[in-house]
């Protein structure tokens, strides 16, 4: 009998692990990471950012979500960029403007990167809301602005990545 049990025990454990998708080792904090794919290649000689839009779902105070924003310098000279939180010029249907404090919840790993000609840099952007914050909007939007601050002239361009947040 004891021998049978010894044989059955590992089989039972393996069975349970298979049923649960080996989910015993759930990390304490689920921090999604970048997984962007694109169709085709962006131009080398144009300044661009990617992704165009990031959607965060089921978010809650105390949670953290992060994504890498690609910034490409399309100039043939070194350029410095300003990567900053920005209130949106418009929001998606059903979404609200961001809470006033949202500025302090967005962490940008490098907000003034200097890029070599035609260099692409991944910049980590994280949304980290304190656990004690009360957010009344169920859905809200903020933008990450990227601007080449070395661009001269009196007509300049700014590129923005839209971040749409849906709360639990």
């Amino acid at each position: 009998m004891e021998r049978k049990l010894k044989l059955i025990t590992p089989l039972l454990i393996i069975g349970v692990l298979l049923l649960t998708g080996c989910s015993l080792f759930i990390p304490a904090d689920n921090i999604p990471t970048s997984n962007t794919t694109t169709d085709g290649q962006p131009p080398v000689d144009r300044t661009w950012i990617s992704p165009a839009k990031v959607q965060i779902g089921n978010f809650y105070p105390g949670a953290r979500a992060e994504w890498e924003l690609s910034v490409h310098n399309g100039n043939d000279a070194t350029a410095e960029f300003a990567v900053v939180y920005r209130e949106p010029d418009y929001v998606a249907e059903g979404y609200a403007e961001p809470p006033i404090e949202a500025d302090s919840w967005v962490v940008i790993a490098d907000s003034s990167p200097v890029l070599m000609p035609y260099e692409t840099r991944e910049i980590l952007v994280a949304l980290d809301i304190p656990a004690n914050v009360v957010i009344t909007a169920d859905k809200w939007e903020f933008w990450i602005s990227v601007k080449d601050i070395t661009q001269g002239g009196t007509i300049q361009t700014e590129l923005c990545s839209r971040w749409l947040v849906v709360m639990q």
Partner: protein, 180 residues
């Protein structure tokens, strides 16, 4: 020994079930399962890149007279969506801000006060005032690869008290449109 082994086996199984999400389905709605429900934050990114360019990066009206409306042609500039997604573009400026000058006040024509407006190629001047410190819609749903011609008008002051050069920087801001 045999009895002890059965106990050990039972405890091991219960521990495994309580640590796993399937525990909820089996009625083990303890703390371990409650903790697992906070793991559901999702994050997705829309593939593609945002990029725009304007054919000219600077424009100079030269010497202007008081109480005049100087303007480019309606197709003086051309902005192109170089990205892979359709974009909305907004426009704004930073007001009169030339280092070393006594700057005008930004606003409808007055003494030492003037402003800029824009119009798309299908429109007409004076068009829409370009706000200072904020933005207005410039063009919605500009498809990738598409261009939009536009022009600028200066609503010059109706009187000057000095001849200092003036400069205003216009910014075109692109972001993915609502349906892209």
């Amino acid at each position: 020994m045999r009895k002890g082994f059965k106990w050990l086996l039972g405890i091991a199984l219960v521990a495994i079930l309580m640590l796993s999400p399937v525990a909820g389905l089996l009625g083990f709605s303890g703390m371990a399962f409650a903790a697992a429900t906070t793991q559901n934050v999702t994050i997705n990114a829309t593939p593609g890149w945002v990029s725009i360019s304007n054919n000219l990066t600077t424009f100079d009206f030269g010497t202007v007279l008081a109480d005049t409306d100087e303007n480019t042609t309606l197709n003086g500039f051309n902005v192109t969506n170089e990205g892979s997604v359709a974009c909305n573009i907004t426009i704004g400026c930073n007001g009169w801000a030339k280092d070393g000058s006594t700057n005008w006040t930004y606003g409808a024509a007055g003494s030492n006060t003037g402003q800029l407006s824009f119009a798309l190629s299908a429109g007409s001047f004076p068009g829409t005032t370009i706000p200072s410190g904020s933005t207005v819609s410039f063009k919605t749903d500009l498809d990738n690869g598409a261009s939009q011609q536009w022009g600028v008008q200066l609503d010059a002051p109706n009187a000057f008290t000095h001849g200092d050069a003036q400069q205003d920087t216009i910014t075109l801001t692109a972001a993915m449109n609502a349906t892209g």
